[in-house]
Assembly symmetry: C2
Homo-oligomer: 295 residues x 2
């Protein structure tokens, strides 16, 4: 498989779908809409929606069925980025190679654009649920509930991250941050794809394990890149975590050990997909991509 | 009817119900939970959840059926207050006679507590939907969708309010702010109570009209109080709107005319409940309460 080509295809599908949700009408609040668009269409890797779709495809082919959930999760992800970048939290000026939302617009707009994107995710889900037939509703209501609980975990993880800035942090708390701040949403992506695809309980469990591993791998890699990544490729300055004495995998274990742990966890992620055989090729390559990416 | 006594009874019911949703377990993120509790249980008038319940009671008596929606709307309302008070938006230090959330905790915590409360509203709705039987689901999915759209309007209204701070504002834009920033949620309260109560289309329309009127009345009164209210009773300084050159009903029409408009709109609100007869006594008194309140 040409992973890079597959990835690009997925990204294009996601971009096209997200664009349908961009509000383009002339209206009084159009600057707010432009602000939401700026962040939503701001060039991320689209890892989360791709995870939803790729997991769904282990089971089914009619991917339009999982698209609303893929869209909703990317809205949530971008909401969290806007708020994380705010002066009151990480105070970042750059993301994805351009100004953060509050620098481009202003702080009030960015706060509200974040709120708007979070809420938009629920508009999308509510519209999807209204269109659903009885037989599907039970599963979808389960997904809706899991979605709301995962967002809750993400916010809690982000909170602890801010609470422990500049402080010494235990392994328990570092793990907590990773499991919640990043892991919960990634796990949700995979679980949504699986539940929508009507996976068995066992398959759901294996995929949840895969998600736990890549979630942790993702965060470790993030921390490594924040330390030694190429600023030009990353699209934002490096060394900020250190400057702000942020608790990271690297600050706790050092670069060398962090890379070793990343390798180990990535291999575990790949192994947890064994039972899916060739169908899971993309997801296995995705785990390697997370490990080896440079942004 | 002793309106004040009835109001107090409703407030007690709501406080008791909200308290069930306060997260009390010892956990890593407990300060975030305390921050959400601080705002949610911070002593508001509980007007919105009371509107849901009182409207529902025009039709039915088993109020426990509408409680989750009443709770969800109060969570949304308090999310909006936390974010509105932030330095990046209204920069207020006091609300309800005590420190605003970001002053009590810190800005990062307040941003995330607001996010958490907004999301909690959807946790509550998702759990309520999961428990619902088939026959009720269609209506409830409609409510969920309306809920998400109303929150969207509230955020848009708040956005325009920030965009026009310190600027001259047209009637169209002032109305837009009122209809969206405050009116959408109030209208939702009434509509949820009615839809859950299985009102007729006509009744729903009359109640929506009532809600539009009291929504506007509420905002006009807010603006009047910000100008001439008693700081001690209000629990926050007056004159802030003027200082920040915020566009308000009073800055546009003057105190005198604002009070006249308030009187007219309140009477219209009461009239729109004519067909409900005595059952609507509380809601009529509520309209007067909104007009005459001092906080």
């Amino acid at each position: 498989m040409d992973f890079k080509a597959e990835l690009k295809k997925y990204q294009e599908i996601v971009e096209k779908e997200l664009d349908k949700y961009v509000r383009k009408d002339k209206c009084i609040e159009e600057t707010l809409n432009k602000s939401m668009e700026y962040s939503l269409m701001g060039g991320g890797k689209r890892l989360r929606p791709i995870l939803v779709i790729a997991t769904y495809q282990l089971f089914k082919n009619d991917i339009e069925k999982c698209m609303p959930y893929a869209v909703a999760i990317e809205m949530v992800h971008n909401f969290s980025l806007i708020h994380d970048d705010l002066p009151g939290i990480d105070n970042d000026d750059f993301r994805h190679g351009r100004q953060t939302n509050h620098k481009k617009f202003n702080e009030a707009t960015a706060i509200l654009a974040g709120d708007g994107l979070l809420n938009s995710a629920y508009i999308v889900i509510s519209e999807e649920l209204q269109k659903s037939v009885q037989e599907e509703l039970k599963e979808k209501l389960k997904i809706f509930n899991e979605f709301s609980l995962a967002v809750d975990r993400m916010i809690a993880g982000e909170y602890i991250d801010t609470e422990y800035e500049g402080k010494e942090i235990s392994t328990e708390y570092l793990d907590y941050i990773h499991i919640n701040k990043t892991g919960a949403l990634l796990k949700l992506c995979v679980r949504m794809g699986a539940i929508l695809g009507q996976s068995s309980e066992e398959e759901l469990q294996e995929l949840s394990n895969y998600a736990d591993k890549i979630g942790l791998a993702f965060q470790i890699k993030d921390d490594i890149l924040s330390e030694e990544g190429d600023e030009k490729i990353l699209g934002k300055p490096v060394g900020n975590d250190k400057k702000r004495k942020k608790c990271t995998y690297v600050s706790k274990y050092g670069l060398q050990e962090s890379k070793q742990r990343l390798e180990k966890i990535t291999q575990e992620a790949i192994k947890s997909l064994d039972k899916f055989g060739e169908k899971a090729e993309f997801l296995k390559e995705l785990a390697l991509y997370i490990q080896n990416r440079n942004k």
